[in-house]
């Protein structure tokens, strides 16, 4: 039998082994406690693989942050060389022309570097470089560019009287944790966006205010149909409706998500929710069909294991 134990274990976790290889894996795992532990740990990680409601919106937010100006600039390989040569020239000039000229050149040089530096400063520090800075708001990596663009987009801030601004700052500090994930601009904007509504709804849900959460999610789906947040809101509405016993409503929400994003990241979760809703409505045959569909389409998902187990039971 070819292949080493680690490879067999990895391929087993992907469902790629035939019967003979499975038997071989079991035989060899029995002989090695270390490999058995590693294999078991791997299976636990696979079982824990979670796709949560709101992941799609979270991913969209991360991509937005990356794409909206904070993309890393490529460093010029000649820049470092230029700095060295510049430094040498300054030293030579110091020797030749006296202190006054040198101060002038150095001032110019510093000015040049100061102008260029923000362009080369990456948004987050690279993981291995420095200790972690305190968490900043989501828009922080774009600050240098955003600061330059702000006057054209927003009303000038200096017109705010100082007490009003300090009150606003205090209000901002007192804001609950959940809203801090939003970019500063969005949090302060008067006009709701799909992201602010989603954050409000999620915050209400976390606080246990389910009626308010459902209201916000519904408003989001009504006002911003087709956005990633609206589709995630359908999923949240489905789950909340199921929890509150409104299976028919939940079914509608899951079906709407599946219609909008048949291959979406939460599609497997939506299918699972749909089967639960159908089951709650007493439509066992349809639930069984959906479970089979889930197993066929997503054989390696966590839900597939549960679906197989359910298919083995009678409704």
């Amino acid at each position: 039998m070819k292949g080493d134990l680690d490879d067999l274990s990895a391929r087993a976790r992907r469902g790629l082994l035939d019967d003979a290889e499975h038997r071989e894996l079991e035989r060899r795992l029995e002989a090695s406690q270390e490999a058995a532990l590693a294999h078991r740990a791997g299976l636990e990680f696979d079982a824990e693989d979670l796709v949560l409601t709101g992941d799609e919106a979270l991913v969209a937010r991360i991509n937005q942050r990356l794409l909206s100006g904070s993309r890393p600039q490529r460093r010029s390989r000649f820049r470092a060389l230029g700095l060295v040569v510049g430094g040498l020239c300054t030293t030579v000039a110091a020797a030749a022309a006296g202190p006054a000229l040198v101060e002038g050149i150095e001032a110019l040089w510093q000015q040049d570097v100061a102008i260029q530096m923000p362009l080369f400063t990456p948004a987050p520090t690279r993981p291995s470089v420095a200790p972690r800075a305190p968490r900043q708001p989501a828009s922080s990596p774009q600050k240098p560019d955003a600061a330059r663009e702000e006057p054209a987009l927003a009303p000038p801030e200096p017109s705010l009287p100082a007490p009003v601004e300090s009150a606003k700052r205090a209000q901002r500090a007192a804001r609950p944790l959940g809203t801090r994930a939003l970019p500063e601009r969005d949090r302060d904007s008067v006009v709701d966006t799909s992201a602010t509504l989603f954050a409000q709804a999620s915050l209400a849900r976390r606080r246990g205010d389910l009626s308010r959460a459902m209201q916000s999610y519904t408003e989001l789906t009504r006002r911003f149909p087709g956005t990633a947040e609206a589709d995630s809101a359908e999923m949240a509405l489905g789950t909340l409706s199921l929890q509150s016993g409104a299976a028919a409503q939940a079914l509608g929400h899951f079906e709407r998500y599946l219609a909008a994003r048949p291959g979406g990241q939460l599609a497997v979760e939506a299918l699972w929710g749909k089967t639960r809703a159908l089951e709650a409505l007493g439509r066992g045959d349809e639930a069984r069909r959906e479970l089979q569909l889930l197993v066929d389409r997503y054989p390696r998902s966590t839900y597939a294991t549960a679906a197989r187990a359910k298919l083995g039971q009678a409704f």
Binding site: A10, L37, A38, N63, R126, R135
Partner: protein
């Protein structure tokens, strides 16, 4: 000395086997600065990066979004230097694992520093595992996560790529750029540490004794 001057051919055993990678072209274009390519690549990869980070840090970690952002940023930053060893997906997932592991290690280091600064006898007393800890110890996940912080970096990387992401030895060798035998040896040492660590948990020890 002549060995240093003459460019020796790469050993055939180390050269990765080229497979079709549907993201390779996209990554190349994104590395050259193409905005649509980058957008498409991120749409494809970021959900995966989020899942990897969640596996390493745990679903309850408060900084999942920021760490995923860091990982995605690091992937984009490294794209121009990506030389096509292994698939783009494996490359990105490895970057995400390393980013998340670094975060874990930093957190552990700062936790230790805080403990050194304010040595409180009650804190030491509370570290004795209680009944809840024993009940939880049936799971290997916390042990693997702890090992990822405490093992030497190469061993931790091999362990996480194999156990957390389910990579084969060849895939780890390809994405880390090390020979197969090195990966096997690192995995062997990491698994030994896992066993030693698991033996410290009575519930797991019972399971292991029952199996053997």
């Amino acid at each position: 000395m002549p060995r240093l001057l003459i460019k020796l051919p790469t050993k055939p055993a180390l050269r990765p086997k080229r497979c079709h990678d549907e993201l390779a072209r996209l990554a190349e274009d994104a590395g050259r600065g193409s905005e649509p390519a980058l957008r498409t690549l991120l749409t494809t990869l970021t959900p995966q990066l989020l899942r990897v980070v969640r596996r390493v840090l745990g679903a309850a970690h408060p900084d999942l979004e920021d760490v995923t952002y860091e990982a995605a940023y690091a992937v984009v930053d490294a794209l121009p230097r990506f030389r096509g060893e292994g698939s783009v997906r494996h490359f990105a997932c490895r970057v995400a694992v390393l980013t998340a592991m670094n975060v874990q290690r930093r957190e552990l280091a700062s936790k230790r520093a805080r403990k050194r600064e304010h040595a409180d006898p009650e804190e030491f007393a509370s570290q004795v595992p209680g009944p809840d800890d024993h009940a939880e110890a049936n799971s290997l996940l916390p042990i693997v996560r702890e090992l990822m912080c405490t093992l030497p970096a190469p061993l931790a990387e091999a362990l996480s790529l194999h156990v957390v992401l389910g990579y084969t030895v060849a895939e780890i060798a390809e994405s880390s750029g090390v020979p197969l035998e090195t990966v096997r040896s690192r995995l062997r040492l990491a698994k030994q540490s896992l066993r030693k660590r698991a033996l410290g948990y009575p519930a797991l020890r019972e399971v292991m004794e029952g199996e053997s």
